[in-house]
Amino acid sequence: MNQNDIQKVWALYKREFLSYVNSPVLYVILVIFLLATMGFAFLFGRFLDSNNASLGQAFFFWHPWIYVVLAPAVGMRLWSEEHRLGTIELLLTMPISPWHAILAKFKAAATVWFIALALTMPIVFTVFYLGEPDRGPIITGYVASYFYALGCLAVTSAVSAFTRSQVVCFIVSVAVCLTLTLIGYPGIVDFVVHGLPGWGEAVVRFISYLSFMDHFYEMSKGIFVVRDVLYFISVIVVALLVTASGLRSKRA
C-alpha cells in the first residue's frame, strides 16, 4: 500500500465513520450496549456484592452474548446498504481496489466498537476506586472483548457481502455468531455427535476448537496465549476474504 492508497482508504474510512456518526443507529446501539454491559454487571452479576476487585466474572463474562446480537447490528449495513442502493457499483468503479473498501469499512465499524468499549471506562474507575485490582487481566479482558467484537463484526461483514437485505444480514449474522459462540457447548456437540458415525466425533471436536468462547476466556483471565490471538486474527482474515469473494461474485 503506497501513500496514495493510504489516503484513499483514509478518505473512505472517514466517509464511512461519519455516516455512522450521522445516523441514529450508532447512538441507539451505543446506549443499548452500555446499558446491557453495565446492567448485566451491576444487576445480574451483582458486581458490588461480589467483594472481588476484578472485572472477569461480573463484567467481561457477559460480553460475548451482547456482541452476538449487537455486532451484527453495527455491521449489517456494511455492504447490504450499498447493494440495496446500488452504490456498490459506484464504489467499486472508484480508483481503489475492493480490498481498500473492505478494510476501510471494517475499520470504521471497528472504531464504533472501540468507542463503545471506551465508554465502559466508568466500571474501571469504579473497580480502582473500590479496591486494588490487578491491571493485567483488565487490559487483556478489554483486548479479548475487542477481539470478540471484531470477530463478530468480520462475520457480519462476510454475510452482508452476499445479501442486499439488512434484515436478512442481521438474522444470518446473529445465527452464525451464536453458532461460533455455542459450538463449544456439550449439549450441542452431543446432538451433532449422536447423528454421526464414529469418525464424525473427531471432526466435531475439531469444529468445537473453533468456538469463540474458549479463546475468549483464556485471554480474559490475564494471559495472552499465541493460539488465541492467532485464532481471532484468523477469523477476521478469513471473514474478510469471504467478504471479498462475496463482493466479486455479486459483481460478476
Binding site: 450521522n22 441514529p24 450508532l26 447512538y27 451505543l30 446506549v31 452500555l34 446499558l35 453495565m38 454487571a41 451491576f42 444487576l43 458490588l48 467483594n51 472481588n52 476487585a53 476484578s54 465508554l119 465502559t120 466508568p122 466500571i123 469504579t126 476506586y129 473500590l130 479496591g131 486494588e132 490487578d134 493485567g136 487481566p137 487483556t140 463449544g184 456439550p186 456437540v189 452431543d190 466435531v204 471436536r205 468445537s208 476448537y209 474458549d214 476466556y217 483464556e218 483471565k221 490475564g222 494471559i223 495472552f224 496465549v225 499465541v226 493460539r227 492467532l230 485464532y231 484468523s234 482474515v237 478469513v238 476474504l241 469471504v242 471479498a244 469473494s245 466479486r248 461474485s249 460478476a252
Partner: protein
C-alpha cells in the same frame, strides 16, 4: 470482456481465496493443535500463570537418571466432560508443559484419555484417579495426575478448577515428594487433641479426625506426637509445633528452651481465649475414660519472658477495622486480616491475601539484645485490648465501649538470631508435692485443687503450671528419672537479665537417676545458692539454625476457620490463607525453601477495601449515639425489672397500685420507643453504605448512556440548524 475470461479470472481469484483460507486453517492447526502455540505472555500482576523460582529449583534437583513421569488423566469425550472442566484441563496441560520445559526434559509428560469403557480408564483406576460419575449410564470422567519417580508415586486424584491457583504448588509438592528420599520429622505438642483420637470400638465412639492442618502435614512430613508433659524434645525433630500449650509445665518449657537453643525450630500458637479448646471440654476420652480438660488460656510464660517478648494472656485484641463475623454476629475479636495486615516482605507471608484470627492476643517485640523479631501479622490502628470476660460476652451482645488504642497490635511474628536461655539457672524443679519456688512466679497458692486447672481465668496467671503438675501423676516421676534434677536446692526465679551461669558444677554428672537428695548434697558445696547445671545445658543458641514463629491465636488453624466444603465437588477448599500460612511456616522452618517460593501465590482474592473503610467510618460516627441509646434501653429494662420484684408471695401475681401501673406502662412505652430508635440508627448506618452502592450503580449504568444521548441530540440539532439555514 468475454464471459469465459471473467469466469477464469473469478475462479482463479476464488482459488486464491480458498488457498489463503486453507493456509490460515493449517497455521491454526499447527499452532493450536500441536502445542506450538503455548507461548504465553502472562500479564497478571503476580504472574499467576508463570512458574515460580521455587518450582524451577525443585525441577532442577531432579536426578536425570531418575526422571519424573507425570501421567495426566483427562477425559476428552465431550458428551460426558463438562465445559468448565475441559477448559480447565487445557490450563492444566499448559502448566504441565511449562513444567516439562523447565525441567530440561527430566519430567516425562504422558497424557491419557480415560473415556468411558477404554483401557485407559482401567489405568486411571489403577493409578487411583478419582472418577466422577456424570450420568445415569455410569460413565465416569477423570481429571487427575499421577506423578512418579522410581517406586515413589504421588496422586492428585482430582484437580478442582476452583483451586487453580494452587495447582502449581500441588504439582511441585508432589514432584518434591517423589524425588526426596527422607521426610523431615515434625513434633506436635498440644493440650487439645489436634492429632485426633483413635476409634475405640468397644465404646461405639467415633474417633475424632485430626485437624486438617495436621492431615496436611502428614502428606509431607512424619508427624510425631510430643506429650504436653515432655521433659526432652528429640533432636531429630526438625520443627516443633506447639498449639495452645494450656497449663504448660516449666519443665516442658525448659525442654523446649533447650531444644531451641540446640538448633531446633519452634512454631508456637498461644491463645488468650481458645474457643476450640473450650468445645473439647467435657468430652470423654475413649482411651482413658477421663474427660478432656483444656485450659481456656495458654501462654509460654518463661520462654516469652526469656526472649523478651511481651504477651498478656488476659487480653484479647478487638479491631473495629478488620472485624469479621463469628457465629452469625459481627464481632471485633473475629479478625479478618486483609493483605494490608500481612507482612509483604517476608517470603512466607508475601502473597497471602487474607487471614482469619479469632480472639487473638497481642505480642510486643523484644528489645535490643534479644532475638531479632519480624512482624508477620498485625491489627489495624482501630484496635484495642479487651479483657477475657468482655471478649466472651461478644458472642451474644455487641461491644458497647471501645476506644481505639491508635497503635497496631502484633498478632504474629518470627524470631531469629541468637536466643538466650530462659532458664539461666538450669532446669526448673519438677513440681513435686507442691513445693514452692523454682521457675514459678511468686504468688502461687500452693496446692491448687486439681479440678481448677480447667478454669485458668479463676486463678492468677502463672499458677496454672502448679495445678497442672499436681493433677498429672505421671509427670513428676518422669521428670525425676529422665533429667538430672537439682530440685530442692533454693533456686532464684528465672529472669532474662540474670547472668548466664557456666556449668561449673562437676558434681552434676552423677547418674541422672541419682536420688534427689544425693544430687543436692553434691551440688551444694560446688555452687552454694546456685543450682547445678546439667552437663548438656545450653545457655545460648549458636548459628542461625534456631528460629521461632509465634502466633497469638490457636483457633485460626482449626478446620472451621481455614476450610469450607466446596458446593460442587464436596471437597474441602481453603477459604483464606490460614492453612497456607501454617504450611509455609512449617516449610520455612524445616528448611524447604523451594516449595515455599511456589506456594506464596495462593489466593487471588482482591476485596473492595474502600467499602470496608466506609463501613468503619460510618460506624465510628454512629457508635456514640448507638451506645447512649442502648444504655437508655438497659436502664429502662432495669427499672421495669425492679418494679416487678414486688410480687405477692402467695398468689405469685404482681401487686401494682394504679400509679405503678401507669409507671410501668410508661416505661414499656419508652422501651418500645428506644428499641425502635436503635433500629432506626442501625438502618441509617446501613443506609449510607447502600447509598454509596446505589450511587455507584446508577453512575455506572446511566452516566454514559445519557452522555451518548446528549451528544447525539446536540449533533442532530446542529445538523438540522445547518440544513435549515441553507
Amino acid at each position: 470482456m468475454s464471459s469465459s475470461k471473467t469466469t477464469s479470472t473469478s475462479s482463479a481469484v476464488g482459488f486464491t481465496t480458498l488457498l489463503v483460507i486453507a493456509i490460515v486453517f493449517v497455521i491454526n492447526y499447527i499452532v493450536g493443535g500441536l502445542g506450538l502455540g503455548n507461548f504465553r505472555v502472562d500479564v497478571t500482576e503476580d504472574s499467576l500463570y508463570t512458574l515460580s523460582k521455587g518450582t524451577k529449583n525443585i525441577l532442577g534437583r531432579i536426578n536425570p537418571d531418575k526422571p519424573v513421569t507425570i501421567r495426566y488423566y483427562v477425559s476428552s469425550d465431550e458428551r460426558v466432560m463438562p465445559p468448565v472442566l475441559s477448559t480447565y484441563s487445557r490450563n492444566v496441560q499448559d502448566l504441565l508443559f511449562e513444567f516439562q520445559k523447565a525441567s530440561n526434559d527430566n519430567v516425562v509428560f504422558e497424557k491419557l484419555t480415560p473415556n468411558p469403557d477404554t483401557d485407559e480408564e482401567d489405568k486411571a483406576r489403577e493409578d487411583q484417579i478419582q472418577g466422577m460419575q456424570v450420568n445415569s449410564e455410569g460413565d465416569n470422567i477423570y481429571l487427575g495426575l499421577a506423578i512418579q519417580s522410581g517406586s515413589q508415586k504421588e496422586v492428585i486424584p482430582f484437580l478442582n478448577p476452583s483451586e487453580e491457583t494452587k495447582l502449581e504448588y500441588d504439582v511441585a509438592r508432589a514432584i518434591n515428594k517423589v524425588i526426596s528420599t527422607k521426610k523431615p520429622i515434625i513434633g506436635v505438642m498440644s493440650s487439645m487433641p489436634v492429632q485426633g483420637s483413635p476409634m475405640f470400638q468397644f465404646q461405639r465412639q467415633r474417633g475424632q479426625e485430626p485437624w486438617a492442618v495436621i492431615q496436611q502435614l502428614r502428606l509431607d512430613y512424619e508427624v510425631r506426637d510430643v506429650e504436653m508433659s515432655a521433659t526432652k524434645i528429640d533432636s531429630d525433630i526438625s520443627v516443633l509445633v506447639v498449639i495452645h500449650p494450656g497449663d504448660i509445665l516449666p519443665t516442658t518449657e525448659y525442654a523446649i528452651d533447650q531444644y531451641l537453643l540446640k538448633g531446633g525450630r519452634l512454631l508456637a500458637c498461644v491463645d488468650p481465649l481458645c474457643w476450640i479448646g473450650q468445645s473439647y471440654n467435657g468430652q470423654q476420652n475413649p482411651m482413658t475414660g477421663q474427660s478432656t480438660v483444656v485450659a481456656k488460656t495458654s501462654d509460654l510464660p518463661n520462654l516469652l519472658k526469656g526472649w523478651g517478648v511481651g504477651y498478656s494472656p488476659n487480653e484479647v485484641v478487638a479491631d473495629m477495622f478488620y472485624r469479621g463475623t463469628l457465629m452469625g454476629r459481627q464481632n471485633p475479636t473475629a479478625l479478618q486480616l486483609p493483605a494490608g495486615a500481612i507482612n509483604r516482605s517476608n517470603p512466607i507471608t508475601e502473597s497471602l491475601q487474607s487471614m482469619t484470627m479469632v480472639s487473638a492476643g497481642a505480642f510486643s517485640a523484644p528489645a535490643a539484645g534479644g532475638p531479632t523479631a519480624e512482624i508477620l501479622l498485625e491489627s489495624s490502628e482501630q484496635s484495642s485490648g479487651i479483657d477475657l470476660a468482655t471478649a466472651e460476652s461478644l458472642r451474644t451482645e455487641s461491644l458497647k465501649e471501645f476506644t481505639a488504642s491508635g497503635r497496631k497490635k502484633v498478632l504474629a511474628m518470627r524470631l531469629s538470631g541468637t536466643f538466650k536461655t530462659a532458664f539461666p539457672d538450669g532446669p526448673p524443679p519438677a513440681a513435686v508435692g507442691g513445693a514452692p519456688g523454682g521457675g514459678m512466679p511468686p504468688g502461687m497458692p500452693p496446692g491448687m485443687p486439681p479440678g481448677m486447672q480447667g478454669f485458668p481465668g479463676m486463678m492468677p496467671p502463672g499458677a496454672r503450671e502448679g495445678g497442672g503438675a499436681q493433677t498429672d501423676p505421671a509427670a513428676p516421676a518422669a521428670t525425676a528419672t529422665t533429667e538430672p534434677v537439682a530440685a530442692p536446692a533454693p533456686v532464684a526465679p528465672a529472669a532474662p537479665a540474670a547472668p548466664v551461669v557456666t556449668p561449673a558444677a562437676p558434681a552434676t554428672p552423677a547418674a541422672p537417676a541419682a536420688p534427689a537428695g544425693e544430687a543436692k548434697t553434691e551440688a551444694a558445696p560446688a555452687a552454694p545458692a546456685k543450682p547445678a547445671l546439667p552437663p548438656d545445658h545450653v545457655a545460648e543458641s549458636k548459628g542461625d539454625s534456631s528460629a521461632v514463629m509465634l502466633f497469638s491465636d490457636a483457633d485460626m488453624f482449626y478446620d472451621a476457620f481455614c476450610l469450607s466444603q466446596d458446593q460442587m465437588t464436596g471437597t474441602l477448599v481453603a477459604i483464606n490463607s490460614n492453612l497456607p500460612m501454617f504450611l509455609n511456616a512449617i516449610e520455612l522452618l524445616s528448611g524447604g525453601g523451594d516449595l515455599l517460593a511456589v506456594r506464596s501465590r495462593a489466593s487471588t482474592q482482591r476485596p473492595f477495601v474502600k467499602l470496608d473503610e466506609m463501613r468503619e467510618k460510618v460506624e465510628v460516627e454512629f457508635r456514640p449515639k448507638l451506645q447512649s441509646l442502648e444504655k437508655q434501653l438497659n436502664d429502662t429494662v432495669q427499672q421495669i425489672g425492679t418494679m416487678k420484684v414486688k410480687t405477692d408471695a402467695k398468689t405469685r401475681t404482681l401487686i401494682l397500685d394504679p400509679e405503678q401501673q401507669k409507671q410501668l406502662a410508661d416505661l414499656q412505652a419508652t422501651q418500645a420507643k428506644i428499641s425502635k430508635e436503635v433500629r432506626e440508627v442501625r438502618k441509617q448506618q446501613n443506609r449510607e453504605i447502600d447509598w454509596i452502592k446505589f450511587t455507584l450503580k446508577m453512575l455506572n449504568i446511566l452516566l454514559m448512556p445519557l452522555m451518548v444521548i446528549a451528544v447525539g441530540l446536540i449533533l442532530a440539532m446542529r445538523r438540522r440548524s445547518a440544513t435549515a439555514a441553507r
